[in-house]
């Protein structure tokens, strides 16, 4: 851990004015950033503690959705009545993540900015293009159990570790950000990036920009949904594959389908073409299998993670089936529904 300055502004404007240097980091729950600082992966010159900014509310929007303040803790968000009743997919994904202690500390905005759990990214004794651009990717050809099968590049095969973001991708959330230059919104699909040749950039957030809120549109998929997370133990493990599935059925026919995958790519993975395939059809494992095949057509294993390709296929079919049956995976239930 390096030496750093610590600032604790009380207004948004003050916070934004303090964060003009790229080596400044905003500090919210700190559940990931502080870990990375201890590992010498993150070496900020200065931490701007945003915990005292008024970003901790959940508000109804005029469009019939919700605007979730960036500082709402994951634990509170998962249990908030408006979330459990209207957006149970989001609640479920939150409860699938981390541990109760971590969810108490982790925030909505911070969750978006979790960094990969790639072993090599975390170990400063190894090269890593994400940590040190141009140094190479040691993960390729190494231990790749947790790595990407979709959208990877020759520079980086890391995955995004969040569960919450997988649900937000399926729900088509919108991210509100502010900086000293002003405010803007980013569609969730455009928030995170694929690694390409700039794996050091996890998201399209510009230096100095602060996530202030995440907005959920009105369509909430409160009946036909499921978040299915497959991992190495029943709790406190990152997803090997996770699926957020949401369907709107009209007269027994799929009118809308959303599917996002976690643990398989550098960002929550969505494939709109594949989603369209099932529209107008009766829900069923065969139809869902075709969706999975489309999504995974370009999947490529790295060796250790080859199993993720068949696993993802099965998980997609199962999660869509759970959603269609209105039998969502309950996170307190160890049996898979």
């Amino acid at each position: 851990m390096n030496r750093f300055d610590y600032r604790r502004p009380s207004t948004l404007a003050e916070a934004l004015s303090l964060a003009t240097d790229p080596a400044v980091r905003y500090l919210a729950g700190g559940t990931n950033l502080i870990d990375l600082m201890k590992e010498d992966v993150e070496r900020p010159l200065s931490l701007v503690d945003v915990n005292h900014l008024p970003l901790g509310n959940i508000e109804d929007t005029v469009e019939g959705g919700l605007k979730i303040g960036a500082l709402v803790p994951n634990a509170d968000l998962a249990r908030a009545a408006r979330i459990t009743q209207r957006y149970p997919l989001l609640s479920s994904a939150l409860l699938a993540g981390a541990s109760p202690q971590l969810r108490n500390a982790a925030t909505t905005g911070g969750n978006l900015l979790q960094r990969t759990r790639c072993y090599y990214f975390y170990d400063v004794a190894t090269p890593c293009n994400k940590r040190e651009p141009g140094s190479g990717c040691q993960a390729i050809g190494g231990l790749t159990r947790q790595h990407a099968i979709l959208g990877a590049s020759e520079h980086c095969i890391a995955t995004h570790p969040s569960d919450m973001c997988v649900a937000l991708a399926a729900l088509q959330a919108v991210v509100h950000v502010e900086s000293a230059r002003g405010s803007r919104t980013i569609a969730f699909e455009d928030f995170h990036r694929l690694p390409g040749d700039t794996p050091e950039r996890d998201s399209n957030l510009e230096p100095g920009e602060l996530v202030t809120a995440v907005e959920l549109p009105a369509e909430s998929f409160d009946i036909h949904y499921s978040y299915l997370k497959l991992r190495d133990r029943q709790s406190y493990a990152f997803a090997l594959v996770s699926v957020a599935a949401a369907l709107r059925l009209e007269d027994g026919i799929v009118a809308e389908a959303r599917l996002a995958l976690g643990g398989v790519a550098h960002k929550p993975w969505r494939d709109r073409e594949a989603e369209k395939q099932v529209l107008g059809q009766a829900p069923g494992r065969e139809a869902f299998g075709r969706v999975a095949d489309t999504i995974l057509a370009g999947a490529r294993g790295q060796g250790d993670n080859d199993f993720k390709i068949p696993l993802a296929r099965r998980a997609i079919v199962r999660a869509l089936d759970q959603a269609a049956r209105a039998a969502p995976q309950r996170q307190v239930e160890k049996r898979i529904s």
Binding site: M1, K38, D40, G141, L143, L230, R314, V317, K334, I336
Partner: protein, 752 residues
């Protein structure tokens, strides 16, 4: 054999809480309220903080180490490296701690420019605060010279260790196994593999060395044996033994990793010696992957049987990893060789050098690996011979220890099988794999036998009775979690009739009488026997004092004539006639009485072992490869149980280790660079609460005063032996898929 009766807690009522009482831990309240202090929690105003810098290559030389930038930081006191560290002993023999491998050169931190393994400490940054030391450590700059290395056991060259490890014997073959195997109508051959495991105790390794004004050193160390740390560090650094005291009042888990003194003790002592200042060194979680671990194992097992499943041949050969600088060995193949009636057994064991730190004992070292692999093989034989797995074990039941060809002091394994099976409902099992199902889930029932040693080691205890009637019993053992404080208190209460709240157990202090390291499940038998002996001797002294008093109500009474009840000594025939201990002390003008006794094992040629029968239910969602353990019954025969509550906790802990071994735990190395890569608790998976079902523990008591004078065999390790196999066997029963490579993770279950 009698069934253990669970007894209610009597301690709070001021009565004695002897053998068989489910006494809650006497140190429980201190632990849960944070009053119990661990090695890293002792502090003084002038304390310095050492932060370790570890090698970033697997093997080679330090060409240049530049500490100038670190030294330039305000608050940094020194950076110790091989270039500027104080001289330590030249003699390897002086570094052979109680748990060191017989053959090899014990590791010396900061002793030369050699890098022997990845994660080796090569510098210690010492500063006025932890934060400064940590910030400065990242400024150390090193040029390395890489050398060829190998961390993959598969590619290392096995050899037969000429000298077995401490307490081990070379596996002894018998009969003509190869011919018997060839002519057996039923044969199975399996290649089993276990990934390396790291202990990952909750508490980080820590040593706090205080330099006293008079030149003495007081050292708080995370250790399983203060005498071991004391002797080792004095020998290493040339300290006078009388001037060093090592304390370790509480240990937050160790599982064998603190049997040998770890490098943080060496580094803290080295810095204190050089700087003549008090220093603390605490490892990070990542650094805790830079010392001992349970070695990887490749194990081929061939079993031959007649068509009724009677074993005709055992051929078993195993290889485990050791380091480049020490020969660490384990007993892998002896367990299967001893456990079942079989005239022909060929047992081979080899080790192979990998460039890691020397592996070390981890809960049931060798036994956890060996019994679990052998018991999977037995399950394979059960299916191959079409005999129920439990019935197969009964058909091959050995009344005598097959390796030593000796009787057992006791072996209630038959009762374990019977009672475990009844509790589990084994008779309702459908024998065919894949034949039990509920909804999406396949259900599997598996079982296995567990076996471990019932060891005992010489231990000395001092018992002191004070004039106020309070009793103190002390020995330099440890309490790494099993409840040693509680066990000592209970045995003292049992032996003296003094209520537990008037008894203080002392341990974890090198000034106390000798005890070996707490390991091998031996402490209850060892320290327990010595506590009982010392207390009996002490009570004899009290009676002698009472005998001599004028008009003594106990005049002429002998020990067999009296009862010890609630701090009183009284005639059995007339309880009203007696004296309290305080009355005796007052009348005799005494402040205290003291007895010191040595407990040692009884001489016997018989084999001493604990046994268990483990029954497991798993449920597997085959589509997505998710497996979970839903029921465990573990029936254990381990002699007499001192405390059913703490003993049950030990078995539960062992079972959780078994779940980890079967399904989750593996240290993953990138062999291209020779580094452990999943070196944190998020990526090295140990079972979490959600993975652990209710665990049913049955103790089948054995009356056995040959195993140890107090009839105790020890329960610290037997819980892991057999459990992983029972899980793997249940997975086979559920899925029809035989998986021989532990841990059985989702990828192995999901691939066709």
């Amino acid at each position: 054999m009698k069934e253990m009766k669970s007894q209610t807690l009597q301690a709070q009522e001021g009565r004695n809480a002897g053998f068989g009482t489910a006494l809650s831990r006497v140190d429980g309240a201190a632990k849960v309220t944070g009053q119990a202090k661990y090695a890293a929690e002792f502090t003084r105003p002038d304390l310095l903080f050492g932060v370790v810098y570890t090698a970033r290559i697997a093997k080679g030389k330090i060409k240049r180490i530049d500490t100038s930038r670190a030294l330039a930081m305000d608050g940094v006191v020194d950076v110790l490296t091989h270039e500027n560290s104080p001289r330590v002993t030249h003699f390897d023999l002086k570094l052979k701690d109680m748990s060191a491998p017989t053959v090899g050169h014990p590791f010396r931190a900061l002793d030369s420019d050699d890098i022997l393994y990845p994660g080796q400490p090569i510098a210690l940054v010492v500063a006025e605060t932890l934060e400064i030391a940590r910030a400065a450590a990242r400024l150390v700059d090193v040029d390395y010279e890489w050398q060829d290395f190998e961390t993959d056991l598969k590619r290392a060259t096995p050899f037969v260790p000429k000298v077995p490890g401490v307490g081990e014997r070379k596996p002894k073959s018998r009969g003509k196994a190869e011919a018997a195997f060839a002519s057996s109508p039923v044969q199975i051959t399996g290649d089993y593999h276990l990934m390396p495991e790291h202990h990952n105790p909750m508490e980080l390794f820590a040593s706090t060395v205080f330099c006293e004004d008079d030149g003495r050193l007081t050292i708080y160390d995370k250790t399983q044996g203060v005498k071991n740390s004391h002797c080792y560090i004095c020998n290493a650094m040339g300290f006078k033994r009388a001037k060093v005291r090592v304390l370790s009042p509480f240990v937050g888990g160790a599982f064998g990793s603190a049997l040998r003194p770890q490098y943080q003790l060496w580094l803290a002592a080295l810095a204190a010696k050089k700087l003549e200042r008090s220093v603390r060194v605490v490892m990070t979680r990542q650094e805790m992957f830079g010392h001992g671990y349970r070695p990887e194992c490749y194990n081929r097992i061939q079993l031959g049987a007649d068509d009724q499943g009677h074993l005709k041949a055992i051929i078993n050969s195993a290889v485990t990893g050791t380091s480049s600088y020490e020969n660490y060995t384990e007993s892998i193949v002896s367990w299967g060789g001893m456990l079942y009636q079989c005239d022909n057994a060929k047992l081979d064991y080899q080790i192979a050098r990998v460039d890691t730190a020397t592996p070390c004992n981890m809960r049931a070292p060798g036994g956890a690996t060996g019994t679990n692999m052998f018991e999977i093989a037995m399950d394979e034989l059960a299916y191959a011979s079409n005999v129920d797995p439990l019935e197969l074990r009964l058909r091959n039941y050995a009344e005598r220890h097959q390796l030593k060809d000796r009787d057992y002091t006791s072996k209630a394994l038959r009762d374990c099988y019977q009672r475990g099976a009844r509790k589990f409902g084994w008779e309702k099992r459908s024998p065919e794999p894949r034949s039990m199902r509920e909804g999406h889930e396949l259900i599997g029932w598996g079982m296995a036998t567990g076996v471990w040693d019932a060891m005992m080691a010489p231990t000395s205890v001092r018992a002191t009775l004070h004039a106020d009637g309070s009793l103190e019993v002390g020995t330099a053992t440890a309490d790494i979690g099993p409840g040693t404080y509680t066990m000592m208190t209970q045995i003292a209460s049992d032996a003296t009739g003094i209520p537990v709240e008037r008894i203080t157990a002392k341990l974890g202090d090198s000034d106390l009488p000798f005890a070996p390291v707490e390991g091998g499940s031996a402490t209850a038998a060892s320290a327990g026997t010595a506590v009982q002996k010392a207390c009996h001797a002490l009570m004899k002294q009290v009676l002698e004092q009472a005998n001599q008093l004028e008009n003594s109500p106990l005049s002429g009474a002998r020990m067999e004539d009296v009862d010890l009840v609630g701090g009183r000594i009284q005639l059995s025939e007339n309880p009203a006639q007696g004296m309290s201990f305080s009355e005796v002390f007052t009348a005799a003008g005494l402040d205290s009485l003291e007895a010191k006794k040595f407990g040692r094992p009884r001489m016997t040629r018989k084999a001493r072992n604990t046994h268990s029968a483990v029954f497991v239910e798993v449920r597997v969602d085959e589509e997505v490869g998710m497996a979970r353990v839903t029921r465990v019954v573990n029936a254990v025969a381990a002699g007499r149980i001192i405390n059913p509550k703490t003993a049950r906790s030990q078995i539960i802990g062992g079972v959780v280790f078994g779940i980890g071994m079967a399904l989750e735990e593996e240290s993953l190395a990138d062999h291209r660079i020779g580094r452990w890569m999943n070196h944190n608790l998020a990526e090295y998976h140990v079972p979490v609460n959600a993975d652990v079902p209710d665990i049913d523990v049955i103790f089948v008591e054995e009356e056995d005063h040959e195993a140890s004078p107090i009839g105790v065999k020890g329960v610290g390790e037997i819980g892991v032996c057999g459990t992983a196999a029972a899980i793997a066997n249940a997975l086979f029963h559920a899925t029809g898929k035989r998986l021989r490579d532990l841990p059985i993770t989702i990828d192995k279950l999901v691939t066709d």
